[in-house]
């Protein structure tokens, strides 16, 4: 069975995550925004597409609109980044800034709709055989790359091959694949050795997502250096001057999918002539630049600024629902934390509210046990009885029974993320209260990134768990950090990846989440609410959880 990308209600039987019946507040708001954008965009689109359906949005000769608030073509969006992307090769980095920039240049085979369900983007459809061992992927025809070549099966196979060699999740997918065969220019067969239900999820937009590049470019690239930043995205690369700007311009030849904007899916009108990403490391400078009208969009700002920004007419502020969480990773290979009793004592001792108060402040956090905040379909309270127990007396007793010898818990953190640092100080104090010796070690980001891969270097470190639409995406529960090695968990994760039916997958995920709280490989402290700051002139920006999409954004006035 195939399905049409622009009518998400027509889902195939193989679609692994059916749309939930309940319409959440988030979904309602998104749909309302999409409807408003569509309605207001209609006259523009009619004029833009007036030439027998030909997409003329790349042309500059657009009739001026009498009402500047309506969507219109023109202007360059200036986005102030908190730092420089380490690479413009999407697969190289899990740094969110990389996705923020390259998400406009490159596209993946699948993307996410407004309910965070995977839908085709460069793919047209995919079918899974009854035994789950053959996946037939059909590509959209006539999709040009920025260099003029037209995407075909060879480009996709070459891109997947490179992605698989670099990215862990790609390795996992390809571990299930015996052969990838180009049946024709626009059809690819994946012959599997075991069913893999999360095929579309693995190949969808995300950190280190599988961007599709021309084979001719990949032939000149190696696994870690992309020869040219060429993709099929709505904006194409113009130039990158490190520490000054990255400039993108509207890709006139872009082949958009049809249908109303829905999440990251649907039509991409490309109203903006270009997007300029400017690294501005100092937060006060970023904010002042936005207030002065020099920038139109900032990455999230710290809660301290929220009250003053609310009164500023030059700034629009959105307080987003929780979509990521503060956590502490425990090193299960450490002699101290190998003991489940010691890990449970930590879990019992912590009072999460004051930690989150110190980290984010009142009103900017929520305390929920779900490991996938923001992904409504995956919300689960499994293991809630272990979450935020606040029982220091029981913890103290358990710690004494465990035979803990007073060895210091080396707790790594960084001041580069102030929230992590503030939370760490409160946690350390709470742990010392019940008898732990805590050695808080403050490192810079680069040193922390390196140290956490060395199992002999630490017992705990503060970490961020970013938004994930699907539990198989990256490593909340994998053994990658903290070395959580458990056969039952690994089997459940394997089943989760293989299973096709959403109901069955959800049941498996609840078991994983339960194990997470039972075995304490990592502590979830609380969900953070990000503050999004933009110019009031910026309208129509897409969702933000997997980095903002400006493909349908425009600047008023």
């Amino acid at each position: 069975m195939t399905y049409v990308p622009d009518t998400p209600q027509c889902r195939p039987a193989t679609d692994v995550t059916p749309r939930p019946d309940r319409v959440s507040r988030r979904t309602f708001l998104r749909r309302a925004l999409a409807a408003a954008v569509s309605a207001s965009a209609l006259p523009t689109l009619l004029s833009a597409c007036g030439g027998g359906g030909e997409d003329r949005s790349g042309a500059t000769a657009v009739t001026p609109r009498p009402d500047p608030r309506l969507p219109h073509y023109g202007e360059t969006l200036r986005v102030a980044l908190s730092g420089e992307p380490p690479s413009l090769d999407m697969i190289q980095s899990t740094d969110a800034i990389v996705l923020l920039v390259t998400g406009h240049m490159y596209e993946t085979l699948f993307t996410w709709d407004g309910d965070y369900l995977p839908v085709p983007l460069l793919a047209e459809s995919h079918e899974v055989s009854d035994d789950g061992l053959l996946i037939t992927l059909r590509l959209r025809g006539g999709v040009p790359f920025h260099n003029g070549e037209v995407m075909d099966a060879d480009d996709v196979i070459a891109s997947i091959g490179r992605w698989e060699r670099v990215v862990g999740i790609g390795e996992l997918l390809l571990g299930h694949v015996d052969a990838i065969i180009a049946v024709d220019q626009h059809t690819i067969e994946f012959r599997l050795n075991a069913p893999y239900g999360t095929f579309a999820v693995a190949l969808a937009r995300g950190l280190q997502g599988c961007a599709i590049h021309p084979k001719s470019v990949l032939d000149r690239s190696d696994d870690y250096n992309l020869a040219e930043p060429i993709g099929t995205g709505p904006y194409r690369f113009v130039g990158w001057q490190p520490d000054r700007h990255i400039q993108l311009e509207r890709f006139a030849g872009y082949a958009s999918t049809a249908g109303d904007p829905d999440g990251y899916a649907g039509r991409k009108a490309r109203y903006l002539d270009g997007i300029e990403f400017v690294p501005v490391r100092n937060e006060a400078s970023r904010l002042a630049g936005l207030q002065a009208g020099d920038y139109h969009y900032l990455e999230t700002v710290s809660p301290d600024h929220y009250p003053t920004l609310l009164d500023d007419p030059n700034v629009a502020v959105d307080l987003l629902p929780p979509d990521s969480w503060l956590s502490v990773v425990l090193n299960m290979r450490s002699p101290v934390l190998a003991s489940l009793d010691v890990r449970r004592a930590i879990q019992l001792a912590l009072d999460h509210e004051p930690i989150m108060q110190a980290a984010f402040g009142e009103g900017f956090f929520e305390l929920t046990p779900t490991l996938l905040p923001g992904a409504d379909a995956w919300h689960s309270d499994a293991g809630a009885e272990h979450f935020n127990q606040r029982r220091p007396d029981v913890a103290r007793e358990l710690l004494q029974q465990s035979g803990y010898d007073g060895s210091p818990l080396r707790f790594l953190t960084t001041q580069e993320i102030q929230q992590e640092y503030n939370g760490t100080l409160v946690m350390a104090q709470q742990l010392e209260t019940i008898g732990f010796t805590v050695d808080v070690q403050v490192l810079d980001g680069a040193a922390l990134s390196a140290a956490r891969n060395d199992e002999g270097r630490w017992e705990m470190y503060s970490a961020w768990a970013s938004f994930r639409p699907d539990p198989t995406m990256r490593n909340i529960t994998a053994s990658a950090t903290g070395w959580w090695e458990d056969e039952a968990k690994d089997q459940l994760l394997a089943d989760l990846g293989a299973e096709l039916d959403f109901g069955a997958r959800f049941a498996i995920w609840e078991q994983v989440q339960h194990l997470f709280y039972e075995q304490v490989p990592r502590l979830k402290i609380g969900d953070s609410r990000r503050i999004l700051v933009r110019s009031p002139k910026l309208r129509g920006a897409g969702p933000d959880e997997l980095q903002p999409d400006f493909s349908n954004a425009w600047l008023e006035g």
């Binding site: 740094d95 862990g168 490391r281 100092n282 002042a288 680069a446």
Partner: protein
């Protein structure tokens, strides 16, 4: 003079070797590696290890040092890990904003500080003297980033006269260039203006008590001639020394001001490279800054010879 300069230039070589070796050792002793930074906060240890191998970071340190030394001997500073260009071209790109900022800031510092110092000396212990010296202490004490933020709030956010940050080349648009450089130059220039002001004041006060000044006054010379032709010229000598060191500092990058105003200069380059452990860039920038320092010190020494006849006579 020429043999003296030649000898000083020849001394650059061993100094650079020491600087290079110490820098190489320090940056490789610092925890953190570029592979982990490149891959981001959610990379797995396996992914990091693969990239480390690819980057050649698992080679023994002596081998890496030998390789760096061989390249450096050919004036090849290597390639940046993150910037997709050679270290030399990255430094050349960043030199213009830094040189311009240093030049504009020093000009402002001298235009403000020198007259203030002269006036304060000539009006010693008057309310004007006290006001100028209070301002100069205030200027020296105020952090340049704080002054920068205040300037942004006034001229960018409130008045909207000037951009809050960024850089435009002079060749692209002289007006836009001037607009982009006014605030950072003011922030840096005003924060260092107190130094020449206080130095000129104290030196002038010493000189004004000298016998030859008394003689000049007794001869009936106009006060302005005494002040400028006889006192001020001699007060310039210590100023040259201090300005030489200040210039060395500024060419090394006014890190904080460059960060506040998002100026893509040497200071930003070195700070960002340290943050992401871009070892070849750190190494290259430190070498270049060391050369700047050594050359500016040499320049000061040479200028001394021309400015102070006593030094010339001693040398002869």
């Amino acid at each position: 003079m020429i043999p003296y300069i030649t000898r000083r230039l020849a001394l650059l070589l061993p100094v650079m070797l020491i600087v290079g070796t110490v820098t190489f050792t320090l940056i490789h002793l610092t925890p953190g590696d570029p592979a982990a930074v490149m891959l981001g906060p959610e990379a797995t240890p396996e992914e990091v290890e693969r990239l480390r191998r690819q980057m050649g970071m698992n080679d023994p340190l002596p081998l890496q040092y030998a390789s760096w030394l061989a390249d450096a001997a050919r004036f090849d500073l290597g390639d940046s890990i993150f910037l997709n260009r050679s270290v030399a071209s990255a430094i050349v790109e960043r030199a213009a904003p830094t040189l311009q900022l240093a030049f504009y800031a020093l000009t402002i510092a001298l235009l403000v500080g020198v007259p203030a110092g002269i006036i304060a000396a000539l009006r010693q212990n008057s309310p004007v003297d006290r006001l100028l010296m209070t301002l100069s202490i205030g200027g020296t004490a105020i952090a340049d980033f704080f002054l920068g933020i205040l300037l942004i709030l006034l001229f960018s956010v409130t008045l909207r006269w000037l951009p809050s940050g960024g850089y435009v080349e002079f060749t692209v648009s002289p007006v836009a260039h001037a607009r982009s450089m006014v605030l950072p130059s003011l922030a840096l220039g005003l924060s260092i203006a107190g130094l020449p002001a206080r130095l000129i004041r104290s030196t002038m006060l010493d000189i004004l008590r000298e016998d030859y000044i008394r003689t000049a006054v007794a001869k009936g010379l106009r006060p302005s001639v005494v002040a400028f032709r006889h006192a001020f010229r001699n007060a310039l000598l210590p100023l040259v020394t201090v300005l030489g060191y200040t210039l060395g500092d500024l060419l090394g990058g006014a890190v904080v001001v460059e960060t506040v105003f998002s100026l893509p200069g040497i200071g930003q380059l070195v700070v960002n490279s340290i943050g992401r452990r871009d070892f070849p860039v750190i190494q290259g920038v430190v070498m270049v800054i060391a050369v700047f320092y050594l050359l500016s010190n040499l320049l000061v020494d040479v200028l001394y010879v021309y400015l102070d006849p006593r030094v010339r006579h001693v040398r002869r």
